[in-house]
């Protein structure tokens, strides 16, 4: 049984009334009540607030402790600016990739493809997006200010206004870009500029520090300056985005929905392979074709290593990320010298992960291993050559800022990092049917925990080794 929607034959229905009809009809078949939804939202907010506040407190306490205060305040300030630029660049890229306006595949197929007014259909989610960006950006700015030790009300207010304003400008501008594909090129350039600017600032501070040159603090408070500039810009951007809503096409809504679905799956099942698989597929699709080359017939394992090297050369973004992590390592060594050892291990693991794509591919696909033939161990070892070499290079170039001499501990750390990369790259496929364990975040499958900690467990042990032995 369905409810009739009062429409004139041949006329175009109002988006609000159609949405209401859809909501009422869907609600009739649902078993979950509004109370259930509010309960879930409450639990989510409670845990986010609790763990978020605990994280902020820990960071604040650490930065205020004697070991956290060893770096020069001006260096740390500019590294903060570099980090903010990098976060802004990554956030802008994420907004572009996701949409930011997204419509689920079902609504795309059954509603968005109809003549229903596009602005009317998208308006509620646009309003929700802007409100979420303003609130989320403000909270992020406030949390960053609290974590870095700000205590005065004007400083906290300035950071909140700057965060809220910048987030609103970013989201509204991304909607404008979504509605005008001609601007996509310039939008792509912006995130590269932001990331590049962050890298340049960090590199300049590292070079100045290593050269013994002091870096001055800025004369004006940047948070308030940024906030005051961002508020009027946010108003203009939101108005422009509202005007752009009718021009947001189905292609951009579909592309974003794919990413949003993958991200939701990754978050719900704590399985990042949903998202990384899609990102990898898109990365290679954007490349399209390559020049096929003949392998040098130097034996089975060497051929596999050649394939691994070609993969890296064909998409050098892994090397760019590797270099960015190296710069981060130097920045940590300058700003927080007492944490340099732990950062060396942790960032080294992240860096080697960027070059372990082949290991992950053979690790998660039994079919691929069967088609390549030979033993699994031989395949894994062949795909571990490039990651292992990258670990050696990593420890060689980061050692000068961590320890004055080379010792046995460095060999242990390098071997351990390779072992961690091996464990992370050879994770078996996730199984959800096994035993579950009751945690503060609800019932979680044991296999899921095993999956998440496989690799990072070795890194945790190595950080302890480094702390007590390094």
């Amino acid at each position: 049984m369905t409810t009739e929607l009062d429409v004139r034959p041949g006329g175009r229905p109002d988006a609000r009334r159609l949405r209401g009809w859809l909501r009422r009809t869907r609600r009739r078949h649902r078993t979950a009540s509004l109370g259930d939804a509010l309960g879930d939202a409450y639990v989510l907010l409670l845990f986010t607030g609790m763990y978020g506040w605990a994280l902020i407190s820990e960071v604040r306490d650490y930065l205020g402790s004697p070991s956290g205060r060893q770096g020069d305040p001006a260096d740390r300030y500019w590294f903060g600016i570099a980090a903010a630029l990098a976060v802004a660049g990554l956030a802008w890229r994420a907004l572009r990739v996701v949409g930011p306006l997204v419509v689920a595949p079902a609504a795309q197929s059954w509603v968005v493809s109809s003549p229903v007014d596009r602005r009317g259909w998208l308006l509620p989610r646009f309003v929700a997006l802007v409100v979420a960006a303003t609130a989320g950006g403000g909270l992020f700015g406030l949390a960053a200010a609290v974590a870095t030790g700000a205590g005065a009300a004007p400083d906290l207010a300035g950071a909140t206004v700057a965060g809220a304003g910048c987030a609103t400008v970013a989201v509204a501008s991304a909607v404008v870009v979504q509605g005008s594909p001609d601007r996509a090129g310039r939008a792509r350039l912006l995130d590269r500029c932001l990331l590049g600017a962050g890298a340049v600032v960090a590199l300049a501070v590292v070079v100045a520090h290593l050269g013994g040159q002091p870096v001055p603090l800025p004369a004006v408070p940047l948070a308030w300056t940024l906030g005051l500039a961002a508020v009027p810009a946010a108003v203009v951007a939101v108005a422009a985005a509202y005007r752009a809503l009718p021009s947001v096409d189905r292609a951009s809504l579909a592309a974003g929905a794919e990413v949003a679905d993958a991200a939701a799956g990754a978050a719900l099942l704590l399985d990042p392979s949903f998202l990384t698989g899609l990102a990898e597929s898109r990365r290679w699709r954007s490349r399209g074709v390559v020049s096929s080359r003949r392998f040098r017939p130097l034996g089975r394992s060497v051929v596999l290593v050649q394939a691994e090297l070609w993969r890296t050369v064909r998409h050098p973004s892994a090397l760019v990320v590797w270099a960015a992590l190296l710069l981060t390592m130097y920045a940590v060594a300058v700003a927080l010298p007492s944490s340099a050892g732990a950062a060396q291990v942790l960032l080294g693991f992240l860096a080697v992960g960027r070059l372990a794509g082949g290991l992950r591919a053979v690790g998660r696909s039994a079919g691929l291993r069967r088609s390549l033939g030979g033993g699994d161990v031989q395949l894994y070892l062949a795909h571990l050559v490039v990651p292992a070499l990258s670990v050696l290079v990593w420890y060689a170039v980061t050692l000068p800022v961590v320890r004055p001499t080379v010792g046995v501990v460095d060999g242990v750390l390098a071997l351990g990092t390779v072992a961690a990369a091996y464990r992370a790259g050879t994770r078996p496929t996730m199984g959800y049917g096994g035993a579950t364990v009751n945690t503060p975040a609800g019932m979680i499958p044991v296999d899921l925990i095993r999956q998440v900690v496989r690799g990072p467990d070795v890194i945790g042990a190595l950080i302890l080794v480094q702390l007590f032995w390094g």
């Binding site: 369905t2 009739e4 929607l5 429409v7 004139r8 034959p9 041949g10 006329g11 175009r12 229905p13 159609l18 009809w21 859809l22 009809t25 869907r26 078949h29 649902r30 689920a104 595949p105 079902a106 609504a107 795309q108 197929s109 059954w110 509603v111 493809s113 109809s114 003549p115 229903v116 007014d117 596009r118 594909p181 009718p246 021009s247 947001v248 096409d249 189905r250 292609a251 951009s252 579909a254 699709r285 954007s286 490349r287 399209g288 074709v289």
Partner: protein, 202 residues
């Protein structure tokens, strides 16, 4: 369609594709696997953006963001999504309402597509063939001047294919232009007026 080009990186899937399709005629897009048939149809309906070229309807460039374009164009591609909590009949009523209709043709289309027993079923309980029929049904409960179908014969049984051929002939007779990708030579021979060959091996 004029000069349509779609590239993925350096790979040109479609290169300068142009053709015309008068009202009341049916054109089949043919080509080997990977020749870009689905990409072509996705560009026509606006589910994908071409890198170059344009789609013209009655001599006017059409944009997916224009409600008039969406009112003219009905499509059943392979990427259709379903609301998990709406029944078969409710999906079709939704499409009818969204196009300004009152859902009067829904029962008739459900009967024509043999979905009577499934009319109150939720999508998760439908077979792949029933889902395909539902996707096709969504094109027939609303007004249309251009019908775009991607391998509509897929997952249909022998009777379903007979019905499809008959329905496409009726669509043509009513003045609807039909653009269809198919690998079914028998269906193409029965209904096609024009062939659009794409891909190197075509």
């Amino acid at each position: 369609m004029r000069g349509l080009t779609r590239r993925f990186g350096k790979l040109a899937v479609l290169e300068d594709v142009s053709f015309g399709l008068p009202e009341g005629r049916l054109a089949v897009v043919v080509g080997p696997n990977g020749s870009g048939k689905t990409t072509l149809l996705r560009c026509v309906v606006g589910a994908d953006r071409p890198d170059e070229g344009e789609v013209l309807v009655r001599g006017r460039r059409c944009y997916e963001t224009d409600p008039e374009t969406r009112a003219l164009l009905a499509a059943a591609l392979d990427d259709i999504g379903f609301f998990p909590d709406l029944s078969v009949a409710e999906h079709l009523e939704l499409v009818a309402y969204a196009h300004g209709g009152a859902g009067a043709t829904v029962a008739e289309v459900i009967a024509e597509l043999g979905l009577e027993r499934a009319r109150d079923q939720l999508p998760a309980t439908l077979s792949s063939g029933q889902r395909r029929r539902l996707a096709l049904a969504s094109c027939f409960v609303r007004p249309r001047r251009l019908l775009v179908l991607d391998e509509p014969e897929q997952r249909l049984d022998a009777r379903g294919r007979e019905w499809l051929a008959d329905r496409l002939l009726r669509e043509k007779a009513e003045g609807t232009a039909v653009l269809m990708a198919t690998h079914d030579a028998e269906l193409a021979a029965a209904v096609a007026d024009d062939r659009i060959e794409i891909g190197a091996a075509a």
